[in-house]
Protein backbone atom coordinates (compact mmCIF):
# COMPACT_ATOMS: atom_id res chain seq x y z
CA UNK A 1 0.00 0.00 0.00
CA UNK A 2 1.70 3.15 -1.17
CA UNK A 3 1.42 6.68 0.06
CA UNK A 4 -1.92 7.74 -1.47
CA UNK A 5 -2.49 11.41 -1.98
CA UNK A 6 -5.92 12.95 -1.36
CA UNK A 7 -5.32 15.61 -4.02
CA UNK A 8 -6.77 14.87 -7.46
CA UNK A 9 -4.90 16.45 -10.35
CA UNK A 10 -6.57 17.42 -13.66
CA UNK A 11 -6.68 14.88 -16.48
CA UNK A 12 -4.57 15.74 -19.55
CA UNK A 13 -6.24 18.44 -21.64
CA UNK A 14 -8.50 19.59 -18.82
CA UNK A 15 -8.08 22.65 -16.63
CA UNK A 16 -8.27 22.92 -12.88
CA UNK A 17 -11.91 24.02 -12.94
CA UNK A 18 -13.30 21.38 -15.29
CA UNK A 19 -14.55 19.25 -12.43
CA UNK A 20 -13.50 16.04 -10.74
CA UNK A 21 -10.26 17.57 -9.47
CA UNK A 22 -8.92 19.38 -6.42
CA UNK A 23 -8.80 23.11 -7.20
CA UNK A 24 -6.06 25.11 -5.49
CA UNK A 25 -4.16 21.83 -5.24
CA UNK A 26 -5.59 20.85 -1.85
CA UNK A 27 -8.03 18.14 -0.97
CA UNK A 28 -11.69 18.87 -0.33
CA UNK A 29 -11.41 18.39 3.44
CA UNK A 30 -8.45 20.70 3.80
CA UNK A 31 -10.02 23.42 1.66
CA UNK A 32 -13.25 23.27 3.65
CA UNK A 33 -11.29 23.48 6.90
CA UNK A 34 -9.61 26.66 5.62
CA UNK A 35 -12.96 28.21 4.75
CA UNK A 36 -14.46 27.17 8.08
CA UNK A 37 -11.52 28.82 9.84
CA UNK A 38 -12.09 31.98 7.80
CA UNK A 39 -15.72 32.05 8.96
CA UNK A 40 -14.67 31.41 12.56
CA UNK A 41 -12.15 34.24 12.22
CA UNK A 42 -15.06 36.52 11.34
CA UNK A 43 -16.98 35.33 14.39
CA UNK A 44 -14.09 36.04 16.74
CA UNK A 45 -13.41 39.33 14.97
CA UNK A 46 -17.03 40.31 15.54
CA UNK A 47 -16.56 39.72 19.27
CA UNK A 48 -13.25 41.57 19.42
CA UNK A 49 -14.51 44.48 17.33
CA UNK A 50 -17.55 44.81 19.59
CA UNK A 51 -15.16 44.80 22.51
CA UNK A 52 -13.18 47.58 20.80
CA UNK A 53 -16.36 49.58 20.24
CA UNK A 54 -17.62 49.24 23.81
CA UNK A 55 -14.25 49.82 25.42
CA UNK A 56 -13.59 53.01 23.44
CA UNK A 57 -17.04 54.24 24.51
CA UNK A 58 -16.00 54.07 28.15
CA UNK A 59 -13.95 56.57 30.04
CA UNK A 60 -10.25 55.98 30.34
CA UNK A 61 -8.35 56.24 33.61
CA UNK A 62 -6.15 59.31 33.25
CA UNK A 63 -4.34 59.47 36.55
CA UNK A 64 -0.94 58.05 37.37
CA UNK A 65 -0.58 54.28 37.13
CA UNK A 66 0.76 53.87 40.66
CA UNK A 67 -2.35 55.49 42.15
CA UNK A 68 -4.74 53.33 40.15
CA UNK A 69 -7.74 51.91 42.01
CA UNK A 70 -10.67 49.94 40.62
CA UNK A 71 -13.77 51.98 39.85
CA UNK A 72 -17.05 51.62 38.02
CA UNK A 73 -16.51 54.89 36.17
CA UNK A 74 -13.51 53.93 34.04
CA UNK A 75 -12.17 50.88 32.24
CA UNK A 76 -9.50 49.17 34.33
CA UNK A 77 -5.84 48.83 33.40
CA UNK A 78 -5.57 45.11 32.55
CA UNK A 79 -2.23 44.52 34.26
CA UNK A 80 -3.79 45.66 37.54
CA UNK A 81 -6.60 43.14 37.17
CA UNK A 82 -4.61 40.10 36.05
CA UNK A 83 -1.77 40.13 38.53
CA UNK A 84 -2.00 36.81 40.35
CA UNK A 85 -0.39 33.40 40.02
CA UNK A 86 -1.77 30.15 41.44
CA UNK A 87 -0.19 28.99 44.71
CA UNK A 88 1.41 32.42 45.26
CA UNK A 89 -1.37 34.17 47.12
CA UNK A 90 -0.76 37.88 47.56
CA UNK A 91 2.19 38.09 45.16
CA UNK A 92 1.77 40.93 42.68
CA UNK A 93 2.87 39.52 39.33
CA UNK A 94 1.18 41.48 36.55
CA UNK A 95 0.46 39.46 33.43
CA UNK A 96 2.88 36.69 34.42
CA UNK A 97 0.24 33.97 34.50
CA UNK A 98 -1.27 34.95 31.16
CA UNK A 99 2.27 34.97 29.72
CA UNK A 100 2.67 31.39 30.93
CA UNK A 101 -0.64 30.49 29.30
CA UNK A 102 0.47 32.04 26.01
CA UNK A 103 3.73 30.10 26.17
CA UNK A 104 1.87 26.82 26.80
CA UNK A 105 -0.45 27.35 23.84
CA UNK A 106 2.31 28.38 21.44
CA UNK A 107 4.37 25.35 22.49
CA UNK A 108 1.38 23.09 21.87
CA UNK A 109 1.15 24.64 18.40
CA UNK A 110 4.79 23.74 17.82
CA UNK A 111 4.24 20.13 18.92
CA UNK A 112 1.19 20.02 16.63
CA UNK A 113 3.18 21.10 13.57
CA UNK A 114 5.84 18.52 14.48
CA UNK A 115 3.06 15.90 14.49
CA UNK A 116 2.04 17.08 11.01
CA UNK A 117 5.64 16.80 9.81
CA UNK A 118 5.89 13.27 11.21
CA UNK A 119 2.61 12.34 9.53
CA UNK A 120 3.92 13.41 6.16
CA UNK A 121 6.75 10.89 6.62
CA UNK A 122 4.28 8.18 7.73
CA UNK A 123 6.12 8.04 11.07
CA UNK A 124 3.31 6.74 13.27
CA UNK A 125 5.23 6.61 16.54
CA UNK A 126 6.36 10.22 16.20
CA UNK A 127 2.82 11.35 15.33
CA UNK A 128 1.54 9.65 18.50
CA UNK A 129 4.22 11.30 20.61
CA UNK A 130 3.69 14.82 19.29
CA UNK A 131 -0.13 14.55 19.35
CA UNK A 132 0.05 13.49 22.99
CA UNK A 133 2.18 16.54 23.85
CA UNK A 134 -0.30 18.77 22.00
CA UNK A 135 -3.25 17.32 23.91
CA UNK A 136 -1.36 17.80 27.19
CA UNK A 137 -0.65 21.42 26.29
CA UNK A 138 -4.31 22.00 25.53
CA UNK A 139 -5.42 20.48 28.83
CA UNK A 140 -2.83 22.61 30.69
CA UNK A 141 -4.12 25.75 29.00
CA UNK A 142 -7.74 24.93 29.89
CA UNK A 143 -6.77 24.27 33.50
CA UNK A 144 -4.97 27.61 33.66
CA UNK A 145 -7.96 29.38 32.15
CA UNK A 146 -10.26 27.70 34.68
CA UNK A 147 -8.08 29.02 37.50
CA UNK A 148 -8.12 32.52 35.93
CA UNK A 149 -11.92 32.50 35.85
CA UNK A 150 -12.20 31.20 39.40
CA UNK A 151 -9.82 33.84 40.70
CA UNK A 152 -11.51 36.59 38.67
CA UNK A 153 -14.94 35.59 39.97
CA UNK A 154 -13.73 35.21 43.55
CA UNK A 155 -11.96 38.57 43.56
CA UNK A 156 -8.74 40.01 44.85
CA UNK A 157 -7.86 41.32 48.28
CA UNK A 158 -8.79 44.96 47.94
CA UNK A 159 -12.23 44.62 46.42
CA UNK A 160 -13.97 47.75 45.22
CA UNK A 161 -15.69 50.47 47.19
CA UNK A 162 -19.43 50.60 46.56
CA UNK A 163 -21.71 53.60 47.05
CA UNK A 164 -23.18 52.44 50.37
CA UNK A 165 -19.69 52.29 51.87
CA UNK A 166 -19.30 48.52 51.73
CA UNK A 167 -16.85 46.64 49.54
CA UNK A 168 -17.70 44.42 46.60
CA UNK A 169 -15.49 41.46 45.81
CA UNK A 170 -15.14 39.42 42.67
CA UNK A 171 -17.22 39.46 39.53
CA UNK A 172 -20.49 38.36 38.02
CA UNK A 173 -22.33 39.38 34.86
CA UNK A 174 -24.05 42.32 36.52
CA UNK A 175 -21.27 43.77 38.56
CA UNK A 176 -17.56 43.33 39.21
CA UNK A 177 -14.92 44.84 41.46
CA UNK A 178 -12.55 45.75 38.65
CA UNK A 179 -14.55 48.21 36.55
CA UNK A 180 -17.77 48.69 34.56
CA UNK A 181 -20.02 45.61 34.13
CA UNK A 182 -19.00 45.37 30.47
CA UNK A 183 -15.45 44.54 31.50
CA UNK A 184 -16.41 41.27 33.18
CA UNK A 185 -19.03 40.49 30.55
CA UNK A 186 -16.52 40.71 27.72
CA UNK A 187 -13.87 38.85 29.69
CA UNK A 188 -16.20 35.90 30.24
CA UNK A 189 -17.63 35.88 26.73
CA UNK A 190 -14.42 36.23 24.74
CA UNK A 191 -12.17 34.00 26.85
CA UNK A 192 -15.06 31.59 27.32
CA UNK A 193 -15.75 31.32 23.60
CA UNK A 194 -12.04 30.84 22.96
CA UNK A 195 -11.79 28.30 25.78
CA UNK A 196 -14.69 26.41 24.24
CA UNK A 197 -12.70 26.22 21.00
CA UNK A 198 -9.65 24.96 22.89
CA UNK A 199 -11.84 22.34 24.55
CA UNK A 200 -13.31 21.12 21.25
CA UNK A 201 -9.80 21.19 19.80
CA UNK A 202 -8.53 18.94 22.59
CA UNK A 203 -11.42 16.53 21.93
CA UNK A 204 -10.68 16.47 18.19
CA UNK A 205 -6.97 16.02 18.85
CA UNK A 206 -7.72 13.10 21.12
CA UNK A 207 -9.94 11.52 18.46
CA UNK A 208 -7.20 11.85 15.86
CA UNK A 209 -4.65 10.51 18.38
CA UNK A 210 -6.88 7.48 18.96
CA UNK A 211 -7.21 6.94 15.21
CA UNK A 212 -3.44 7.15 14.84
CA UNK A 213 -2.83 4.61 17.59
CA UNK A 214 -5.30 2.14 16.09
CA UNK A 215 -3.67 2.50 12.69
CA UNK A 216 -6.48 4.17 10.74
CA UNK A 217 -4.20 6.60 8.93
CA UNK A 218 -1.52 4.01 8.36
CA UNK A 219 -4.10 1.91 6.49
CA UNK A 220 -5.46 4.99 4.70
CA UNK A 221 -2.01 5.76 3.37
CA UNK A 222 -1.75 9.37 4.49
CA UNK A 223 -1.94 11.45 7.65
CA UNK A 224 -3.82 14.38 6.18
CA UNK A 225 -6.34 14.28 9.02
CA UNK A 226 -3.55 15.32 11.35
CA UNK A 227 -2.91 18.31 9.09
CA UNK A 228 -6.56 19.31 9.05
CA UNK A 229 -6.98 19.12 12.79
CA UNK A 230 -3.61 20.89 13.03
CA UNK A 231 -5.03 23.81 11.07
CA UNK A 232 -7.86 24.06 13.61
CA UNK A 233 -5.42 23.96 16.51
CA UNK A 234 -3.21 26.65 15.01
CA UNK A 235 -6.28 28.79 14.48
CA UNK A 236 -7.10 28.44 18.18
CA UNK A 237 -3.57 29.57 19.02
CA UNK A 238 -3.86 32.46 16.57
CA UNK A 239 -7.07 33.69 18.17
CA UNK A 240 -5.43 33.53 21.59
CA UNK A 241 -2.57 35.73 20.31
CA UNK A 242 -5.16 38.37 19.36
CA UNK A 243 -7.22 38.00 22.54
CA UNK A 244 -4.05 38.24 24.62
CA UNK A 245 -3.05 41.47 22.88
CA UNK A 246 -6.40 43.24 22.91
CA UNK A 247 -7.59 42.14 26.33
CA UNK A 248 -4.45 41.95 28.41
CA UNK A 249 -1.91 44.27 26.80
CA UNK A 250 -3.73 47.21 25.23
Amino acid sequence: MSHTSPVVVPAPGKTEWDGGVSPMNVSYGKLMMWFFLLSDAFTFSALLITYGLVRSAHQVYDGSVTNFIFSQTYWPIPEKVFASIPFFHGLNAPLVFVGIMTFILIMSSVTMVLAVEAGQRMDRKAVEKWMLWTILGGICFLSCQAWEWAHFIHGAEEGSAVAEGTKFFGANLRMNQYGPPDFADFFFFITGFHGFHVFSGVLLNFLIFYNTVTGVYQRRGHYEMVEKVGLYWHFVDLVWVFVFTFFYLV
Binding site: L31, L114, R124, H234
Partner: protein
Protein backbone atom coordinates in the same frame (compact mmCIF):
# COMPACT_ATOMS: atom_id res chain seq x y z
CA UNK B 1 -10.12 -3.83 14.28
CA UNK B 2 -9.81 -7.11 12.34
CA UNK B 3 -6.73 -8.84 10.95
CA UNK B 4 -3.90 -6.42 10.19
CA UNK B 5 -1.76 -7.19 7.15
CA UNK B 6 1.93 -6.61 7.28
CA UNK B 7 2.20 -3.59 5.03
CA UNK B 8 5.52 -2.22 3.90
CA UNK B 9 5.32 1.47 4.55
CA UNK B 10 8.67 3.15 4.54
CA UNK B 11 9.04 5.62 7.35
CA UNK B 12 11.15 8.45 6.03
CA UNK B 13 13.75 9.93 8.37
CA UNK B 14 12.93 13.28 9.99
CA UNK B 15 13.38 16.29 7.75
CA UNK B 16 16.03 18.04 9.84
CA UNK B 17 15.94 21.22 7.76
CA UNK B 18 12.21 21.67 8.11
CA UNK B 19 12.18 20.83 11.81
CA UNK B 20 14.95 23.35 12.41
CA UNK B 21 12.93 25.96 10.53
CA UNK B 22 9.84 25.23 12.63
CA UNK B 23 11.76 25.62 15.89
CA UNK B 24 13.27 28.85 14.53
CA UNK B 25 9.78 30.21 13.91
CA UNK B 26 8.79 29.11 17.42
CA UNK B 27 11.79 30.98 18.76
CA UNK B 28 10.84 34.09 16.80
CA UNK B 29 7.32 33.95 18.26
CA UNK B 30 8.79 33.65 21.74
CA UNK B 31 11.15 36.58 21.22
CA UNK B 32 8.37 38.80 19.86
CA UNK B 33 6.21 37.93 22.88
CA UNK B 34 9.08 38.81 25.20
CA UNK B 35 9.50 42.15 23.41
CA UNK B 36 5.77 42.76 23.88
CA UNK B 37 6.14 42.11 27.60
CA UNK B 38 9.16 44.39 27.64
CA UNK B 39 7.14 47.19 26.09
CA UNK B 40 4.21 46.46 28.41
CA UNK B 41 6.36 47.06 31.47
CA UNK B 42 9.10 49.29 30.11
CA UNK B 43 7.25 51.94 28.14
CA UNK B 44 5.20 54.17 30.47
CA UNK B 45 1.41 54.18 30.15
CA UNK B 46 1.49 57.87 29.21
CA UNK B 47 2.92 56.91 25.81
CA UNK B 48 -0.29 55.08 24.99
CA UNK B 49 -0.11 55.37 21.19
CA UNK B 50 3.39 53.92 20.97
CA UNK B 51 2.38 51.01 23.21
CA UNK B 52 -0.81 50.21 21.34
CA UNK B 53 0.79 50.41 17.89
CA UNK B 54 3.73 48.24 18.99
CA UNK B 55 1.34 45.58 20.30
CA UNK B 56 -0.78 45.64 17.17
CA UNK B 57 2.16 45.40 14.77
CA UNK B 58 3.83 42.63 16.76
CA UNK B 59 0.58 40.68 16.93
CA UNK B 60 0.22 40.91 13.16
CA UNK B 61 3.81 39.71 12.71
CA UNK B 62 3.10 36.74 15.01
CA UNK B 63 -0.12 36.01 13.13
CA UNK B 64 1.78 36.08 9.82
CA UNK B 65 4.28 33.53 11.10
CA UNK B 66 1.61 31.23 12.54
CA UNK B 67 -0.55 31.34 9.42
CA UNK B 68 2.31 31.34 6.92
CA UNK B 69 4.57 28.71 8.43
CA UNK B 70 2.66 26.62 11.00
CA UNK B 71 -0.48 26.51 8.89
CA UNK B 72 1.67 26.31 5.78
CA UNK B 73 -0.36 28.93 3.90
CA UNK B 74 2.70 30.65 2.46
CA UNK B 75 3.59 27.43 0.63
CA UNK B 76 0.14 26.70 -0.75
CA UNK B 77 -1.29 27.82 -4.10
CA UNK B 78 -1.30 31.60 -4.31
CA UNK B 79 -5.01 31.57 -5.13
CA UNK B 80 -5.75 29.83 -1.84
CA UNK B 81 -3.54 32.23 0.06
CA UNK B 82 -5.37 35.28 -1.33
CA UNK B 83 -8.78 33.63 -0.81
CA UNK B 84 -8.01 33.68 2.89
CA UNK B 85 -6.14 36.99 3.13
CA UNK B 86 -8.33 39.29 1.03
CA UNK B 87 -11.47 38.96 3.22
CA UNK B 88 -9.36 40.05 6.20
CA UNK B 89 -9.64 43.56 4.71
CA UNK B 90 -13.25 43.63 5.88
CA UNK B 91 -12.21 42.78 9.41
CA UNK B 92 -9.66 45.60 9.49
CA UNK B 93 -12.23 48.00 8.02
CA UNK B 94 -14.82 47.08 10.66
CA UNK B 95 -12.25 47.32 13.45
CA UNK B 96 -11.23 50.87 12.52
CA UNK B 97 -14.80 52.02 11.85
CA UNK B 98 -16.27 50.62 15.06
CA UNK B 99 -13.50 51.87 17.32
CA UNK B 100 -14.14 55.36 15.93
CA UNK B 101 -17.88 54.83 16.50
CA UNK B 102 -17.15 53.84 20.07
CA UNK B 103 -15.08 56.94 20.68
CA UNK B 104 -17.88 59.09 19.26
CA UNK B 105 -20.39 57.36 21.55
CA UNK B 106 -18.05 58.00 24.47
CA UNK B 107 -17.87 61.69 23.59
CA UNK B 108 -21.65 61.99 23.51
CA UNK B 109 -22.04 60.06 26.75
CA UNK B 110 -19.55 61.95 28.82
Amino acid sequence: MSHSEETTITVLPPDKERIKKLWTVAGILGVITLIEFGVAFGVPHEMKDLRVWTFIIMTIVKAAYIVGEFMHLRHETKFLMWSILVPIVFIVWMLVAFVYEGMAIGDVRF
